[in-house]
């Protein structure tokens, strides 16, 4: 596999996705700046941050994969000396960078904000676990988008993904090992939270590996 071709494809995708990456970073930073001002601002800022990550996820996958297939850009690329493996690896890498960089930057910035301001440090595990869940949602949507154009499947994943956040955050807050420490300065990485994040990361990796294998076997592109 030519790494040069993969690198060129990744650079092309990042060039196209750049406004989205930049926009999500701006929105995320604004949400973090807003957070320390009051309890309500903290709640609103946190919500905006989650929305920024979800929007980045959906718009990135739609633009980078689904629309590209719909507009036959993929067919055009595969008619040139680009193999399906190179194309798939490039899509995986570019999507991971385009989502991962803003997500990691914003998560780290959020942790630093919690540590550096009077906001309770006890929120750090919840904040990180929520960020991991958003990453899990991104990986599942990316995995589906790699293997299918079917609008019903994609819409179903988006709906479940969006709704899941509304259950995961209250679920984490209500964990007996997490809830009591949220308003304190004590950071508690309980086994429940660590297990939750571990399982989501393993499932995310599994979804991507399965979709990659399925997609690599595809031989019809028109």
């Amino acid at each position: 596999m030519s790494h040069s071709v993969v690198r060129q494809l990744v650079m092309k995708d990042l060039r196209v996705a750049w406004p989205l990456i930049f926009g999500s970073l701006v929105l995320g930073v604004l949400s973090l700046v807003l957070s320390p001002w009051s309890a309500i601002a903290f709640f609103v800022g946190g919500s905006i941050l989650v929305v920024a990550l979800i929007l980045l996820n959906i718009m990135l996958v739609m633009g980078n994969l689904i629309n590209e297939r719909k507009e036959k850009i993929r067919v055009f690329l595969l008619s040139m000396p680009v193999s399906t493996t190179q194309y798939n690896v490039a899509k995986l890498v570019s999507s991971m960078i385009a989502y991962g960089v803003p997500a990691v930057v914003l998560t780290l910035a959020g942790v630093i904000l919690l540590v550096a301001t009077p906001l309770p440090n006890g929120f750090i595990p919840l904040f990180v676990a929520t960020s991991v869940h958003c990453f899990f949602y991104f990986c599942v949507l990316l995995a589906f988008a790699l293997v299918t154009d079917n609008q019903t499947w994609i819409t179903t994943v988006v709906i479940f993904g969006n709704v899941s956040v509304s259950f995961v955050i209250p679920g984490l807050i209500n964990l007996s090992s997490m809830g009591p420490s949220l308003g304190t300065e004590v950071v508690v990485w309980s086994p429940d939270v660590v297990a939750f994040m571990g399982v989501e990361l393993v499932l995310a990796a599994a979804a991507l590996v399965i979709s990659f294998v399925v997609n690599s076997r595809q031989t019809e592109f028109v």
């Binding site: 060129q8 092309k12 060039r15 055009f76 595969l78 000396p81 190179q86 031989t219 592109f221």
Partner: protein, 306 residues
């Protein structure tokens, strides 16, 4: 032929692309029905046929974008699924969108990066006479300009084989002739071209060989003249005092009409009719004789196939 021969190892006579008994179905519809087709070095092969004849399917099989249900497709002596087979191939497809935010120069440069020995961006733009489009964003181009930009992308890899699927759709007359000149330049440099087009004058102007497809089968194949000769018909026009009614009764005359002192005749044996016209009217002027157009042969052939 071995399944792993690079182009330089192919025999000089070996076809650059081949379909061997290729069958392709979409559900109950047979798109290609046992088609044998090859593309030879240095030729411009025009694939003609009505909509749904199987032209785009044939190209998709050659490019590895579809797989035959039976038979075989080969490109540069290799399986089209082998990326090596596409290193010497350029493609201009129908209904393809390119990244709208990128400039033409960037798109050509990006395409060049996939090939082992590409032209420079400036060379590709100059060859296709699209230098003035280089700095424009793809989204800002007109439909015809987009086709021109796609043509520059198709040639940037120094292709030995170029697939052009309806290349001049949306182009004005001048841009169309410019593209024809560029195609002739490429052929003069040693490239072969597979051209699909609905403009039969385009096939007439560019192709060395024409293959007519209908309902997934090859119904005719040969040079433009050979295909034209399928319809034994000659068109004659002249300024003459002869009456169309009289001429219509001559042997081999299919049609005759008078308008504005101009006599127009369609005949199966043009030479005998011209001889008789000259004998019958010594004052005859402005004589024009032309053979049947490719379009007439195409219509005749596809009508029979239907």
């Amino acid at each position: 032929m071995s399944g792993s021969q690079p182009l330089h190892a192919l025999d000089a006579d070996a076809p650059l692309a081949e379909l061997v008994g290729a069958i392709k179905r979409y559900g109950n519809t047979v798109a290609l029905d046992g088609v044998h087709l090859d593309v030879r070095r240095g030729e411009v092969l025009a694939l003609l046929g009505p909509n749904g004849a199987g032209k785009s399917t044939a190209i998709s099989l050659w490019l590895g974008l579809l797989q035959p249900d039976a038979g075989e497709a080969r490109l540069m002596g290799l399986s089209p699924l082998d990326v090596e087979s596409r290193r010497d191939v350029g493609v201009m497809m129908q209904e393809v969108a390119l990244e709208p935010l990128l400039r033409v120069r960037e798109l050509v440069d990006l395409a060049a990066s996939y090939y082992p020995d590409p032209l420079t961006v400036d060379e590709a733009l100059a060859l296709t006479r699209t230098t003035e489009l280089g700095d424009k964003r793809y989204a800002k181009l007109s439909g015809g300009q987009k086709r021109q930009a796609q043509f520059a992308i198709a040639v940037v890899g120094r292709p030995r084989l170029l697939f052009l699927d309806e290349p001049t759709v949306g182009l004005d007359v001048q841009a169309r002739e410019t593209m024809w000149r560029a195609i002739r330049d490429l052929v003069a440099r040693g490239s072969s071209v597979v051209l699909t087009t609905h403009y039969l004058d385009e096939a007439e102007a560019l192709a060395n060989r024409v293959v007519v497809l209908a309902k997934g089968r090859v119904i005719a194949s040969g040079s433009v003249d050979e295909i034209r000769s399928v319809v034994s018909r000659t068109h004659i026009s002249c300024a003459s005092a002869l009456s169309a009614d009289d001429v219509r009764r001559w042997p081999s005359v299919l049609e005759a009409s008078n308008a504005d002192r101009k006599l127009t005749i369609t005949a199966t044996d043009g030479e005998s009719v011209v001889r008789r016209l000259l004998a019958a009217d010594h004052e005859l002027r402005h004589l024009e004789v032309r053979p049947a157009a490719l379009s007439e042969a195409f219509t005749e052939l596809t009508k029979e196939a239907a």
